[in-house]
């Protein structure tokens, strides 16, 4: 179905850097020289998880004539903001910066991207908000970057990849979660990998289709890690938003995780409720791409099984290509739930939107 009302909050749009040179004004003198001297500004650092020319990463009518999908401000403004009559759209820059192995260089790129998005996108349309990109493998520098950006209320979330060096729940990462909760920033976990490991435990797949499909399994791993390590016990106000990997996998994950918890919860005695209930309280999911089952009744059952109206958030995933026409919502959702998905759930998840 199309979006029935104006004023929705689009929780996942992807402005793209047209090239690395646009960042040069946002590096300090040292890093600018470093980047130029090494010729890094000639490289594009596209996130490997989102190859620019893969059909799924740019809807044909959302591709600019020149440059990469999502790099044209006017197109994004007319197609994602005006087109869907959104009240807010949250910009998530998917960029290889977060995977650069040098913590210092990665942090320098992240700072430059955050300053670039603020100056060149957020400043041009009051409906735009953004996520802070951080070097996740350097918790100290990541927390510092969160502190720095949090002074700007247009940053509403911290963005990390789902698959990195270490599972996201690992306690080394907790300074990041502490900084985020201190500033009412949810952690936005986006589909994709920094490819420190193969995306599955079987090894490297051959096709992009396999890679893309595997991302929902990465999210299941994220939940297992965050919950098992006790992240939500330590940070009871923390919200985590899983972006761009569907939602229909969630019920089966809940059933399995709950069963394991009943069997071996002595190993994780800090958990005082089931994994499914932690997820319902702390975890949110954007609905694109919705892995809609072929039959209406199946979708209704999935929604009932999730059994929580607060979890789903609207997103177009602009400019990625997940739906046809403007049918950004799956058919068959009850009206009350649609209202929550479009507006209310996001307002509760992102306190800094209010």
């Amino acid at each position: 179905m199309s979006v029935p009302a104006s004023g929705a909050i689009d929780c996942d749009v992807h402005p793209a850097l047209p090239n690395t040179q646009v960042l040069l004004p946002y590096f300090d003198a040292y890093w600018k020289e470093h980047v130029q001297m090494r010729g890094l500004d000639r490289d594009n650092y596209n996130a490997a998880a989102f190859p620019v020319n893969a059909p799924i990463n740019g809807r044909p009518d959302w591709r600019p004539e020149k440059g990469v999908p999502g790099s044209d401000f006017a197109m994004l403004q007319s197609q994602a903001l005006d087109g869907f009559q959104n009240r807010f759209a949250i910009c998530n820059v998917l960029h290889g910066a977060q995977a650069i192995l040098s913590e210092d260089l990665s942090a320098a790129f992240c700072r430059a991207i955050n300053d670039w998005i603020a100056a060149e996108w957020l400043a041009r349309d009051p409906r735009l908000r953004a996520s802070i990109v951080v070097p996740m493998h350097s918790p100290e520098l990541a927390a510092k970057e969160i502190e720095r950006c949090a002074a700007d209320p247009r940053f509403v979330q911290v963005l990390v990849w789902e698959m990195q060096e270490l599972p996201l729940g690992r306690r080394q990462h907790w300074p990041i979660y502490r900084a985020a909760t201190d500033h009412d920033l949810p952690i936005g976990v986006h589909a994709g990998s920094s490819y420190r490991h193969p995306p599955t435990n079987l090894g490297w797949p051959s096709y992009y289709l396999e890679d893309y499909v595997s991302w929902s399994t990465g999210f299941a791993g994220v939940l297992n890690s965050l919950i098992s390590e006790g992240v939500f016990v330590e940070f009871p106000r923390l919200k985590v938003v899983l972006m761009e990997s569907g939602v229909t996998w969630l019920p089966a994950w809940m059933w399995r995780a709950n069963k394991t918890w009943r069997g071996v919860r002595a190993e994780v005695p800090w958990l005082d409720k089931s994994p499914a209930d932690y997820a319902r309280e702390h975890v949110r999911l954007t609905i694109q791409p919705f892995d809609a089952p072929p039959e209406q009744g199946q979708l209704q059952r999935i929604i009932e099984e999730i059994d929580c109206d607060d979890m789903l958030l609207f997103a177009t995933d602009y400019p990625h290509w997940h739906f046809d026409g403007t049918d950004a919502l799956p058919d068959g959702l009850p009206d009350a739930l649609v209202r929550k998905i479009l507006v209310d759930n996001a307002m509760k998840t992102y306190p800094r939107l209010s």
């Binding site: 270490l166 599972p167 435990n201 499909v213 399994t217 299941a220 791993g221 229909t248 190993e267 059952r301």
Partner: protein, 298 residues
């Protein structure tokens, strides 16, 4: 392990036939028990000559020590996927021996099982009438999740379905079932409730990315429906028990086979595993008929 499955003589759980009869075969009136030996691990050996020898010896041991003493038990043909010729030879050697019913491959090999280098082994299984049974296991060396090594068993145990999802994805997308249409695959010890969602996801993204995989001639879900079977343990327990029936409908009752996982701690007891009443006809399929057909035991 089940605490009461340790034999009094100090052996390993699962090593004592009398105890296995008492706790499993007789206790539940089992007609056939499909063996999936996890020790020995010839398939995990990097020294492939040694691995092939280990597999062959373990297969003799299954047949002579177990099947000959207890005809209700059926043997797995263990192979090492990193030594194609030896694996094919081993499959051919066991063809026609009714003690063997399935080829067992540890799915975490050096590369995903759908990769073409493994096709000759899968072809040999199909050509000799054996289905492939894929338990958890293998030593790829890669972390057990795409995001790195988990800290807790509480985290690792629910990651098994993700490994199975990757396996289905690899087999289907690489084109194994287009190339070997009569290959039958059983997924063992991964539960099954995740399968419908995976199929929806595969189909959805296949429609956008199909040009990358022109070797596929049907929807991914159609290959799954034709070539893949699941075993139940550890059976998912939905918060609303009835939801399990819908899940089974979506997969197809004719593709689901009961398994206990004896003697592991998370074994499913056939009397209590289902928290919902399964209709009589479907019960027959799931507890007996599907497996008789799959393993050609009729």
């Amino acid at each position: 392990m089940r605490m009461d499955a340790w034999p009094k003589d100090g052996g390993h759980p699962g090593s004592d036939l009398a105890l296995m009869r008492e706790q499993l075969l007789d206790a539940f009136d089992v007609s056939y028990g499909m063996m999936m030996p996890l020790l020995g691990r010839g398939g995990d050996e990097r020294n492939v000559e040694f691995g092939a020898a280990l597999c062959s010896a373990a297969n003799d041991w299954e047949a002579q020590v177990w099947c000959d003493a207890e005809p209700r038990l059926k043997a797995a043909i263990q192979v090492t996927t990193e030594y194609t010729e030896a694996a094919i030879k081993e499959i051919e050697k066991r063809a026609g021996d009714r003690r063997f019913t399935h080829v067992m491959i540890p799915p975490r090999g050096l590369e995903p099982l759908g990769r073409r280098r493994y096709w000759p082994i899968l072809e040999a299984a199909a050509a000799n009438g054996f289905p492939i049974a894929l338990h958890l296991g293998g030593t790829s060396g890669h972390p057990s999740t795409g995001g790195g090594w988990p800290s807790f068993y509480h985290e690792e145990h629910p990651s098994y379905p993700q490994s199975k999802e990757a396996l289905v994805t690899s087999l289907v997308v690489e084109g194994v079932f287009e190339h070997i249409p009569n290959l039958r695959v059983a997924l063992v010890e991964g539960g099954f409730a995740w399968l419908p969602s995976l199929c929806w996801r595969l189909d959805k993204h296949y429609k956008r990315l199909r040009e990358e995989v022109p070797h596929l001639k049907m929807l991914p879900s159609e290959y799954v429906r034709r070539n893949i079977w699941v075993t139940t343990q550890p059976i998912e327990e939905p918060e609303r028990p009835d939801d399990l029936l819908a899940t089974c409908e979506w997969i197809g009752w004719d593709r689901i086979m009961f398994s206990t996982d004896y003697p592991h701690w998370d074994q499913d007891d056939p009397r209590y595993a289902f928290k919902v009443r399964v209709p009589e006809r479907e019960k027959q399929m799931l507890f007996r008929d599907n497996a008789l057909a799959f393993y050609t035991l009729g």
